[in-house]
Symmetry: C2
Amino acid sequence: MTLQGYFRSSAAWRVRIALNLKGLAHEHGFRHLRRGEQAMPDYLAKNPQGLVPVLEVPGQGVLAQSLAILEWLEETQPGAKLLPADPWGRARVRALAGIIACDIHPIQNLRVLQYLKRAMGQEQAAIDAFARHWITRGLTAFETRLAEAEAGAFCHGDAPGLADACLVPQLGNARRFGADLAPFPRILRVEAACAALPAFAKAAPEAQPDAE
Amino acid sequence: MTLQGYFRSSAAWRVRIALNLKGLAHEHGFRHLRRGEQAMPDYLAKNPQGLVPVLEVPGQGVLAQSLAILEWLEETQPGAKLLPADPWGRARVRALAGIIACDIHPIQNLRVLQYLKRAMGQEQAAIDAFARHWITRGLTAFETRLAEAEAGAFCHGDAPGLADACLVPQLGNARRFGADLAPFPRILRVEAACAALPAFAKAAPEAQPDAE
């Protein structure tokens, strides 16, 4: 399998974590987002959205959308489970993932911020404040949900999974935009537990070959 | 089960479609988003994100995030299947759903547009253009994927499912913002096939008791 990504893309980062948690060997391809390499014809043929990541699966084809990729890995690949066994727990983990993958990350994604600058003429300070606003709002809800009984050393129980694979990359973005994470002690505790695991450490942006 | 929603919320609309496709009896609660009823303490106790929908399940609790609710319904409830049986097809349907639920809807959601107006001082015409931009961009990719062999009368094969439940409400938003749908004949064909089904007709905003 080959993951086409970008070191700083938090959606690609999620998939790197999942591949590592499952212990799956894989290759990396790189698309430099600030140079627009995800909008080139050869990449659009893989993913008409022109977004990273995609996962190329030999003999099968190309998978797009990070959450769909994570669910496919869960359904077809051996290794650590990304979702709990009980449907109610699975729904909780997917809801936590959705807070980030639906309601934070797409709003503060590079292409939206570029639109605010180019089409709306917003200053960088206002753009950064926009990103921080949605990050802080989403993480506030996430922090509240980490007080639920199902939370443990990780987002759900005492093993890392799909929600953790979404949370950790979002915190990278949060720091890049200068968000204050001090109000989120439960989130920071989960992040520290993740950081201690090689699956997460190996997936970090600064550990990628295309890191700048 | 009780669905807490709002007639115009496309995320609530998705869940209404899924409940109808599965033939599940349910109650409706209503939160008027423009009056901020989703930010009241009794609702925040159900969902700290302050977003609709949530699904209240007697004896179990409250589920948030529309995609997580749809997956939970699929895993636990009888009736029509929202996802195909094969993992590759499931990944395709989830990716189509993600184009809308991650990469269109959250960006053009009411709260983001209100931010552009209140915090960034944007005019209504520029705000509507912002919404149309992301809708058109996402639907363009969606249209391309509807040329894939797996598409049929509906997004995936000849029965409606999770991707259709996300697509149809997004088209409601598209028209509200004045997006041109003429470049999307495959999407419009799927929409027409859905509109002919009672499960979709009953879920439409104008058919809801809180419609204005």
